[in-house]
Subunit: 143 residues, 2 copies
DNA sequence: ATAAAACCTAAACCTAACTTTAGGTCAATA
DNA sequence: TATTGACCTAAAGTTAGGTTTAGGTTTTAT
């Protein structure tokens, strides 16, 4: 299937200007053009864009994503590089999830804290700290 | 306890220039100064900085973190605002973790893909796709 | 055939979150 | 007391990842 830039933008919820920016940065070198210089995306290009979104989510920079796609073009000689890249990205992503989970724990504590404070009408009620201590057993969550 | 900017920088692993930047942006308005205009951080300031780190991890912008600290200063009249802020941040963080987990699944699939490709010496071996399909039951992971 | 919608490029602009630089002040030590 | 290391400010510079603007071309529908 062939898609215009506007169709791709709608399908993947990526703005047209972002798609052109990715192209300019060398990430979409696979994308064909008509004789009139209009971009024509195919299904493989869509898959590439989904991979870009995935890697961006894990925190990879566009220049590194570009590198990966160029390694793909180079063929089997770069398999190990690509393998190492994904192993590294796996580590980074796992660490990032851990960090976020830890932050979420603290945010949840604060939700509970302010829910109780709202009930009491003040953050100065001594029973507020007590109830939270009871619930969480340690006040370390608040650190 | 009182700490110099250098000590805080070491303790929390935040660069001195970043600490000064946070101060300039109005996030550290609690921090005292000596008569000689040198910053003096106390334990509450350290807690504030830990909260900044936490909220930054969840993707909150400095201007919104600043707002939160100012609400804290305003007292009990802002309890509900603060409660809503943390509820919203909880939602956002949970969504972010889900997104990251989904991306991680795809990265893991790619690790497995390239591990096998490395074994075969090529990404073109038909058994590569077969073995992955076997392992994951669906090729959707690769989308 | 023509008008409007969709596309194109290049270049300037934007934002957040810092970092660096330049030029100076403060405070602990020899 | 002099020097050295830690601190200070203001302002400019940096980076990534875009968006916007201006001016033009192509395609599609009437």
């Amino acid at each position: 299937m062939a898609y215009s830039i506007g169709e791709v933008s709608e399908m993947l919820n990526i703005s047209i200007s972002t798609l052109r920016y990715y192209d300019k940065e060398g990430l979409l070198f696979r994308v064909n053009r008509t004789t009139g210089n209009i971009r024509v995306f195919d299904d493989t290009d869509i898959e590439c864009l989904k991979m870009i979104e995935c890697l961006k989510t894990t925190g990879m920079q566009l220049k590194d994503i570009k590198l990966f796609f160029h390694w793909c073009e180079e063929g089997d000689s770069t398999i190990d590089k690509r393998y190492q890249l994904f192993l590294e990205q796996k580590e980074k992503t796992e660490k990032q999830i851990e960090l976020l989970q830890h932050a979420l724990d603290r945010v949840n504590y604060k939700c509970e804290y302010y829910r109780l404070a709202k009930e009491k009408g003040t953050t100065n009620d001594p029973s507020l700290q007590d109830e939270l201590a009871m619930k969480y057993l340690t006040k370390d969550n608040n650190k």
